[in-house]
């Protein structure tokens, strides 16, 4: 082991050096161009949607927990009803916002479907 180990370290160092220099080169070329701009913009849009989905998950989790705590006898009926309704109102609002955010893509999606149908019609 002690004979092989130094060479192993050298090989890993060499590979890391090559990888590092390659990544640096890629970084410089990307920095000098603006090809990636479209990707970043699309990402920003999906980020907003992802945040809403996370919010929805958190609310669903909380609704489940409140129901569980009520079933386990930790919450009285009155407290449960109050909390449950409040959380449901928030969840409805998030579902509404999710639909709104999807609305922006509706036109684009419809156009893509129409194009696909048209293409498949031509092929047929």
């Amino acid at each position: 082991m002690s004979d092989v180990l130094p060479w192993m370290f050298l090989v890993v160092a060499g590979a890391a050096m090559l990888g590092g220099l390659g990544s640096l080169w890629l970084s410089l070329s990307l920095g000098l161009s603006d090809h990636a701009l479209g990707d970043v913009r699309a990402q920003l849009t999906s980020d907003a949607r992802r945040a809403l989905l996370a919010e929805k998950d958190a609310l669903f989790q909380e609704l489940g927990d409140v129901a569980f705590e009520h079933d386990a006898g930790k919450l009285s009926d009155q407290d449960f009803n109050e909390l449950n309704e409040k959380l449901r109102a928030q969840a409805r609002h998030v579902l509404h916002e999710l639909d709104e955010s999807a609305e922006a893509f509706r036109g684009e999606a419809e156009a893509l479907i129409a194009k696909r149908l048209e293409d498949s019609g031509e092929n047929a």
Binding site: L24, L30, R41, E62, L95, H96
Partner: protein, 865 residues
């Protein structure tokens, strides 16, 4: 000697890392300041920087393996006789290398965080990368200007190295520092996410969710590191304990305390959109504490047994800490309007308020430890007097706080979120309280007979009313602790039973219900399992109140009795390997009939490179009820007569078992849900996606299994001979109390009290003091004359008057003030909460149509998770 110039190449790589990290930071900041097309460039720059750090580590590791003693660090921490695994451990065995190791782990975290960020948090991402790069830059600058691991000797190159400190030639050393560093460095990622949130003003729950997993990973590794540190101390330093409240130990405990407070408090923000300022403060403080801890470890400003890590790099850390604190404060002030809470606490009887109390205790403990750790420095600066704050101070003050925290660990799960009615809470508490009281009564009746009386003999650290109160608090603590442990176990058990019952009402069998309960609520039940682990650890800590110790000089064939054990000394035995000579003393544990029931072999190791530092190997026979801990103090080669110190340590094994349970709970709580994994695949179906949770789970399982398999039954190296070369005999409680307050002043045994220190100087001093006691001199007078002779620093615990009193008065005052503030604010929040409640969230008419869809989605969610 290798043909190419490793020192020059290594330094060149460090420069390359600095350039690459600075360039990446500039690109990332550009991307965050309105030029988003620079983001991919910053990401690739990050990968490049991480790769260069890997090159630097590999080059240093290569230098160790080929014994390139041109490099000062290699020559100081290795020699030709060391096996390859210790040559690898030498990478972090000294100051300069451990800084490179810090940078390496940071780059590892950065690499995986960058992979994870792909397609996520696009607005936060540039600032996360910039912050991580800035931290890396600090460590690289530190290495280049003050602690270069590739620095060479100015004159001749030595033919062989000095070798790794014998204390560090131990298998725990191979995993304890990396794990602890993983914990320290791990907090960089959540901190970077926090800074990104503050800079961009995206201070909702997005950053909290992004930071959650990384904070859990860091906390788990920090816990593991602390646990392994305890094991190392128990087996390696050989004084019989596992935690000495050494400044370097405290340095790793501080971020753990604040980080634990954060992990509890952040749940309130996730659930209730509250406590935003507080969570920002806690996370920032956790990171600052990791840097402060590294500063304490590295600067050597405060006397510590970890003296192998002293240097002059403290000033860099002071500047960096100053920069961090001012920067964070300014960012927080700037973003204060965006940190306003959406909700208020609705009841003082709620999980939220229990978490606030938990934060209060944890931060109170942090303030105590912080002030006590830095008090020697403060005292020297303020009044020019050196003082020492020994373990006795911490042990007395931390016990009541720890017990309050333990009680809250049992109370928290019983209280509902938002609001719990008094009657509900009382009903929930009946069973756990009943169990706690029952255990207290049973211990009162039968404890003494079983060797575990509920009240132990009080020992005072002060001759004042405070000292008496503390002594009695500690005296009743074992009984209170066992009762509280039972309360918490019953409380957690009850939560599982209640949960299973709820599921069983839906038609599930008991086992299926349990499996579903845990799998669908991993975070909640993982947290409960962590609490169970903490309980087991407390059981182990409590066992320290029942330690029995005895010292005997034996000839081969003679026996000594201690507790329920008889130990026979059989013979000395000599062995050798290329690295060291080893003198073992074979001993046999006998049962009541005189038949062997186990063997132990305490030893002395004399390392080739450190002949002046023979180490004492302790032998430990570990069982759930107690450990038999045997130290060979001396052995005479001509007469074969040996002096042995034996300590019976009840329940210690529960600490390690509790640690494993705690780790398993932590792993369970961060195990990715099927839903999360599906989303990962949806996000990038064709490419490899890094799942940090899976990675940490794998790593933690490996380490936990290792802990379980290795156990603690093997003999390990003791501390250096300068710490424990002789023997200690304590005749009565008066001696124990007095010796515990006086520190050895031989010059080598820093921070060791006379009731522990085994050097010759301490032995002479003990004899001298015994003569005074026999002559009827009051122990207080003896203590005063000791102080007059050697100064205030010779006392293990500062006095209870003047500025010394600030040591406990300041934390207590701040805790009282804080609890008053919490209750006052809680009431105000409660009033506002009630007002908000009456003006409940209004639903827009258009949103009512989502009601049935909500039910459908909720049902699907329940099935998916």
């Amino acid at each position: 000697m290798p043909a190419f110039d490793i020192p020059f190449f290594g330094t060149l790589i460090l420069c390359l890392i600095l350039v690459s990290a600075s360039y990446t930071m500039a690109m990332a900041m550009g991307a965050g300041s309105g030029r988003p097309h620079l983001l991919p460039s910053a990401r690739w720059g990050t990968y490049a920087t991480c790769a260069f750090v890997l090159v630097a580590v590999c080059v240093l590791a290569y230098a160790f393996q080929v014994h390139d003693f041109r490099i000062r660090y290699v020559a100081r921490y290795s020699d030709r006789s060391m096996p390859w695994w210790y040559l690898i451990a030498s990478l972090w065995g000294g100051q300069d290398g451990s800084l490179l190791w810090w940078a390496f782990l940071l780059s590892g975290y950065t690499f995986f965080a960058t992979r994870w960020l792909r397609g996520r948090h696009t607005e936060l991402q540039p600032w996360i990368l910039a912050t991580l790069m800035s931290i890396l830059i600090f460590f690289i600058v530190l290495m280049l200007f003050s602690a270069n691991p590739f620095a060479t000797y100015i004159r001749t190159t030595p033919g062989d190295g000095e070798g790794l400190n014998p204390l560090l030639q131990n298998y725990w050393m191979a995993i304890h520092p990396p794990s602890l560093y993983m914990g320290f460095v791990g907090w960089s990622v959540p901190f970077a996410i926090l800074i990104a949130a503050l800079v961009t003003g995206r201070l909702g729950n997005e950053w909290v969710r992004a930071a959650r997993l990384w904070a859990m990973i860091a906390w788990t590794f920090l816990s593991l590191g602390l646990l392994l540190g305890c094991l190392w101390s128990y087996e390696e330093l050989g004084w019989g304990g596992y935690w000495a409240w050494d400044p370097v130990e405290n340095a790793s405990f501080l971020p753990w305390l604040v980080g634990t407070a954060y992990l509890h408090s952040v749940l309130i923000q996730e659930r209730r959109h509250m406590m935003r300022v507080w969570n920002v403060f806690l996370l920032a403080l956790t990171f600052v504490m990791t840097i402060f801890g590294t500063f304490l470890t590295r600067s050597g400003l405060i006397a510590s047994v970890h003296s192998f890590a002293r240097s002059d790099i403290g000033q860099y850390f002071v500047w960096y800490l100053g920069f961090l604190i001012i920067g964070i404060a300014l960012l927080m002030i700037w973003r204060l309007p965006k940190l306003k809470a959406d909700n208020e606490i609705e009841s003082l009887v709620s999980r939220e308020f229990a978490f606030l109390l938990n934060n209060w205790v944890l931060l109170g403990m942090m303030v105590f430890v912080l002030i006590a750790t830095t008090f020697p420095l403060l005292s020297e600066w303020l009044r020019g007097e050196e003082v020492t704050v020994g373990p006795g101070f911490y042990n007395k003050w931390m016990v009541p706080l720890g017990l309050i925290l333990l009680f809250l660990a049992g109370l928290g799960p019983l209280v509902a979120w938002r609001k719990a009615t008094g009657s509900n809470l009382l009903r929930a508490m009946m069973f756990p309280l009943g169990v706690g009281v029952a255990v207290a009564v049973l211990q009162f009746l039968f404890g003494a007979r079983l060797g575990f009386p509920p009240i132990v003999e009080p020992t005072e650290i002060y001759d004042t009313a405070t000292g008496t109160i503390l002594a009695w608090t500690a005296a009743v603590a074992p009984g209170v602790s066992f009762a509280t442990c039972s309360f918490v176990l019953a409380s957690v058990g009850q939560e599982f039973v209640r949960g299973v019952r709820v599921r069983m009402r839906k038609g599930e069998g008991a086992f299926t219900a349990l499996v579903h309960l845990v799998s669908k609520g991993r975070r909640r039940y993982g947290g409960y399992i962590v609490h169970v682990g903490v309980v087991f650890m407390f059981i182990g800590f409590t066992g320290a109140a029942y330690d029995v110790e005895r010292e005997s000089a034996l000839r081969p064939g003679e026996t000594m009795a201690i507790g329920s054990h008889t130990i026979r000394y059989d013979q000395p035995r000599m062995e050798a390997d290329p690295n060291k000579r080893m003198i073992f003393t074979d001993m046999t544990l006998l049962d009541d009939d005189g038949k062997p029931k186990g063997e132990v072999a305490p030893a002395k190791f004399i390392y080739r490179t450190h002949p002046q530092m023979p180490t004492t190997e302790v032998a430990i026979r570990s069982r759930p009820a107690e450990d038999v801990y045997v130290i060979m103090s001396t052995v005479d080669p001509s007469t074969r007569r040996g002096t042995f110190r034996v300590i019976i340590r009840p329940l210690v094994a529960w600490i390690w078992f509790g640690g494993i349970v705690l780790l398993l709970g932590a792993i369970l709580s961060m195990w990715p849900t099927a839903r999360e994994l599906v989303r990962e695949r949806e996000a990038a179906p064709r490419s490899f996606r890094f799942s940090p949770a899976t990675a940490v789970v794998g790593l933690a399982i490996v380490v936990a299994t290792m802990l379980a398999l290795v156990g603690v039954a093997s003999a390990q190296t003791d501390g250096s001979s300068s710490l424990h070369a002789g023997s200690v005999v304590i005749n009565d409680p008066v001696e124990r109390q007095l010796f515990g307050r006086l520190l050895c002043q031989c010059g080598d045994c820093e921070r060791l009290p006379l009731d522990t220190c085994a050097c010759g100087w301490a032995d002479d001093k003990r004899s001298e003091i015994r003569e005074s006691l026999a002559a009827g001199v009051d122990p207080t007078k003896i203590q005063e004359s000791y102080r007059a002779e050697f100064g205030a620093k010779a006392l293990a615990i500062p006095s209870d008057k003047g500025l010394d009193r600030a040591l406990w008065a300041v934390p207590i005052a701040s805790m009282v003030l804080a609890v008053g503030l919490i209750i006052m604010l809680g009431r105000r929040w409660q009033r506002r909460g009630e007002e908000l409640q009456t003006a409940a969230t209004a639903t827009a008419p258009g949103e009512l149509r989502y009601d049935s869809r909500l039910d459908e989605e909720l049902e699907r969610y329940e099935e998916d998770t």
